[in-house]
Symmetry: C2
Subunit: 715 residues, 2 copies
Amino acid sequence: MVQRSENTHSTDRVDPLAMLFHARSIAVVGASQAEESVGGRPIKYLLQYGFEGQIYPVTPKYDSISGFQCYASDRDIPGPVDLALLAVSAARIPDVLEDCAAKGVPTVLIFSSGFAETGEEGRKAQAQLVQRAEQLGVRICGPNSMGTMNLRSGLTATFSAVLERTHPAGPIALVSQSGMYGAYILAQATALDLGLGLFATTGNEADIELSEVLDHVVRDSETRAVLAYVEQVRNGDGFVRAAETALEHDRPIVVIKVGRSDVGARTAQSHTGAIVGSHESYEAIFRQYGLISVDTVDEMLDIAQLIDYGIFPAGKRVGIISLSGGAAVMLADACSESGLEVPTLPDEIQARLKQRVPFAGVANPIDATGQLFNEPDIYPEFLQALVNQEDIDTLVLFFGQMIGYVEELGSTVVSESVKAARDSGKPFIMVATPGDGRAAQMLKEGGIPHLSDPDRAIRAVAALANYVERREILLRRKKVAQKIELPLIPRADIDTELGAKRFLAEHGLRVTREHLAQSPEEAVRHADSIGYPVALKVNSPDILHKTDVDAIRLGLENAAAVEGAFEEIMCSVEVRCPDAEVRGILVQEMVPPGIELILGLKRDPVFGSMILCGLGGIHTEILRDFAMRRAPVDRETAAEMLGELRGYKLLEGARGSDAADIDALTDTIVSLSNIAVRTREWIEELDINPLIALPQGKGCVVADALIQSIPQDEK
Amino acid sequence: MVQRSENTHSTDRVDPLAMLFHARSIAVVGASQAEESVGGRPIKYLLQYGFEGQIYPVTPKYDSISGFQCYASDRDIPGPVDLALLAVSAARIPDVLEDCAAKGVPTVLIFSSGFAETGEEGRKAQAQLVQRAEQLGVRICGPNSMGTMNLRSGLTATFSAVLERTHPAGPIALVSQSGMYGAYILAQATALDLGLGLFATTGNEADIELSEVLDHVVRDSETRAVLAYVEQVRNGDGFVRAAETALEHDRPIVVIKVGRSDVGARTAQSHTGAIVGSHESYEAIFRQYGLISVDTVDEMLDIAQLIDYGIFPAGKRVGIISLSGGAAVMLADACSESGLEVPTLPDEIQARLKQRVPFAGVANPIDATGQLFNEPDIYPEFLQALVNQEDIDTLVLFFGQMIGYVEELGSTVVSESVKAARDSGKPFIMVATPGDGRAAQMLKEGGIPHLSDPDRAIRAVAALANYVERREILLRRKKVAQKIELPLIPRADIDTELGAKRFLAEHGLRVTREHLAQSPEEAVRHADSIGYPVALKVNSPDILHKTDVDAIRLGLENAAAVEGAFEEIMCSVEVRCPDAEVRGILVQEMVPPGIELILGLKRDPVFGSMILCGLGGIHTEILRDFAMRRAPVDRETAAEMLGELRGYKLLEGARGSDAADIDALTDTIVSLSNIAVRTREWIEELDINPLIALPQGKGCVVADALIQSIPQDEK
């Protein structure tokens, strides 16, 4: 696994990231005989977890610790060192780094705090440290990291007291930007008998950051899925690449992003010193790149439990058998609310089951009723009825506490379920609290996971069914994606409505027909050529919100109205914004009635060009009904964005109105995305508001647009 | 507690409902020596739980069961019988009922199935049974009930195998319409060390139904709160009364309503044979009458745990101390998303804390950092800083697994927390998994509940803070409510738009000025008197959707336009609905631009007159953004309805537009509510669409209305 020479590493032959999980020799710098100290615990835990590699305590204070000889410096260690754990004060770190480099240590993991998280001075010290490490060719995890672990090999490079208890190993990885909370997730997983494998806490991420760790972990062959606790992404491109790698390798990333609220973001910032990007961008990225985004750790661990059992539903159709009618209703509700289907069984099968148990509900959900206590042999019949249906992908069974409480029932139910699951190859989930007796053991051996809450179980099934479906779509979409690198568009004159719209028109968007007038007479000439009614608007780089200064007149029906409007606007602007540079009055066609949308481009500090679409009016701004994606966006993704809007039905022609030209809208989103990519160096923000969608076949028209560019001196 | 005469009850002196929980003598009809049978388990469990009253097995098959003498019939029992449990076949129930009545048994609890849940014949048998029971003066719980329990007294009138394990008693009651799922909730509560007291499963509710049980249980002095699992309410008025009683007695009802989705409702119906009303009505009722509505049993039990510890936050302001910065962020997010506040500490206090621990987050949340391991004595300072703030109502502490894993830290944290909680009298909640050692014990004795998930903990706190706030509002509102009984309004001629709007105008709503015309000339005369522009609409009891048949013309500017429109509408109606009775053409003022709303009245099959308001367009119908209440609705409630709309900001004047006349809207909702109450005997449905809200001070106008009345022969 790790390539190395005899005494020192040639860093181009080892993967420094791999050292965090697969090091075979570890130096603990600042090692201590005090077992409860930061320098004492790693050695204690490495022993406790049976780490089979070399352990080198580095400290001048002792001769040996736990039977291992101590060294005054890394330089004195006889064998190679794959990973150095740094548990000395911040002030001593630079010297230790030099020692590590001299020794040829590829990766150092810094536990010490006292860097960027403490303020300006710490930030400087951290920057210097990183700079020096780059020169030396040493990679840093941390500082202020709680460490990493590979519970499968016993590599516990951490001082976290969570290892005071033993944790079983398994195929789930955990990457956490919070050390302590990461440890808590580990403890909760253990309580659920869920084994984690690789575990990394990334601390201040001075060098190695979340994305790089994720990218490494999703390539690990023994890892089945990654749980990620995220406070902020520092490398948007890297994160996206890691997400794409995860999709290719089919290693779902289950992510919880915290700092969603203002007070949460404020707390996260004071806690880590990092800028937290917009929550909406994160959610958009998670969706666009196939991560499973959850709101709570409970949800994360529910999903992880199903993954641990290999539950990847082939579709969204669920068959349900329940000992309780009430639970059947809850499960059906939960399916509906999570976007899963509960297909009704064919009439002839229902009739057959009804004959067998007249009181049972047999449509699917099957409500087996208490009759199952008296006649346990009807259970296989219920099971077969569902499992044989081709249109059922996953079986969910509810037996509550009963399989644990009533041994006879429990054995029958569990053994028949295990048999049916094996024979059919379909995923089975049990909603039950089987206790820790025989029933629980049989379930485990039979490969059927159990969760206690019906809602949570169904939501976890839905998350995985979605993942499977989404992954297929995204991989296919990526395969057909054009790899053409679009040429950059040079900076253009876009600082007025006219400029912005001409620019958009040049790049494929349809805008209102319009001309600039410098006098009432010219305005009338333009209006005559455009055809009445027309709109008049001031055209000025200094007036961004024309309505606020009463500088728009709509629906002007004749020459007299146009002349009057021209004078009024000029007058209003002179009074309200005497200093504005006015570049004339825009005479504009009135677009026929249609549905108003908003289209936008924003540069997210983390993820770059984000494309946004939403319905106009209060929908986008107040009701927050919009869809967002990172550019580039292809046609399929653009159509998906429109379809995600809660108000999509309006575009489809709800309430008797015509359907909008959804094809044209889709094209327009793609065009905007291309513009976003090609102007990434100078357009900061672009708002098309409104974009008027005409009825099907009639296209859509940009009625107003505003572009803000990055000031030239900032480039 | 129970009043009775020597040998028989005089039913007017006992409360038959009380017998389900407080009976002191129980007959088990159909008793069996087979301990695992429906007739065997109740006796087994009564003994197991130490029931101290009389147990009378009734069966001709045995001489004695478990040492109790058997009787061939209830009539032979020597002492009084408070409650008879019926575990015989459905066919034998009528005879047993006669025996019970002859013996003077006030209440029978029927376990037997084979009644309404099985189909038409069963429904008939059940109806006959109820009729006879009424004649005999015997109350029935069930049939098809799993029974009732009082775990405090050991009265376990149930055959549920959930009692195979022991469950501790406590102050939380549980009323469930599902026997099996109710038992599962009990089992889950026990796993959380949460004690339930009274427990009832209501079965088919042939006689005693949910509402009556709730009303009884919320009056129980030893009960602190009621958990209710609800599939359908059969008695809407009774349910509302029970909810009001609960509010008065301050016994929160935490309710989970299942059958929310179509497939869920279908399953519930096949499971219970009952009609499930609209989910929206249920949610409206829960909100209007102060119930705590939850989506999952997890949430229900989280809240129950806090209630068990007496956590009733006086306000919505939370102070947070966390060992983990990550958890601090999650808790802050959860507060914000649940509507709780996290007030920032005053600068001077922050400065003082910062001096003490430079790396800590001190704004609130307080991020204590791992420093707490080294300096546990800083913890009381953090605690005092928050607890002393008057604007903090509740303390939430995060210590994850650490208080269980690291004994020293655990003892300090817990004992200091307990002390601060006692001294301050403020509620404390610990987010942690303390295990089952000393820390857990100390928390329990110190009166601090612990939940494991930060999100769930905060949501439970929010639910209770909301309950406390809501209860106060609702009790005050009820106190000032006018008790005037409004006189009924007799059936009126409302079958056209004109009729409907005249009716509304008579009862206080402002409608468009309009007159009926029978000829183009008359239409012009009316238009002249109203003033241009006007609208023309067909007025017919047979045309409910005028747009669909092109029978509306808007914005007619002059006499010629009116004449033309008249002819066009008549022509269109003649072609498209030749059979429609046309009562002329309505000439109507054009209302100035405003915000369109929808106002409605619907008769819910369970809860009666429901008032609905929402924004027009796609908001109500497609985006489902509306508010609903049961009539009568007072001004405060009407204002609350408007405020609940996601689009409320539009009414307040978002996006540069004028604020709408919210006072007038409020009045209009109240007027509609009064109409609802006064026409409850004949109006089935009333839609005002649109109601146009004009700018503040200008009122609001009914622009169209449709009333559907209950056919006279159905009355």
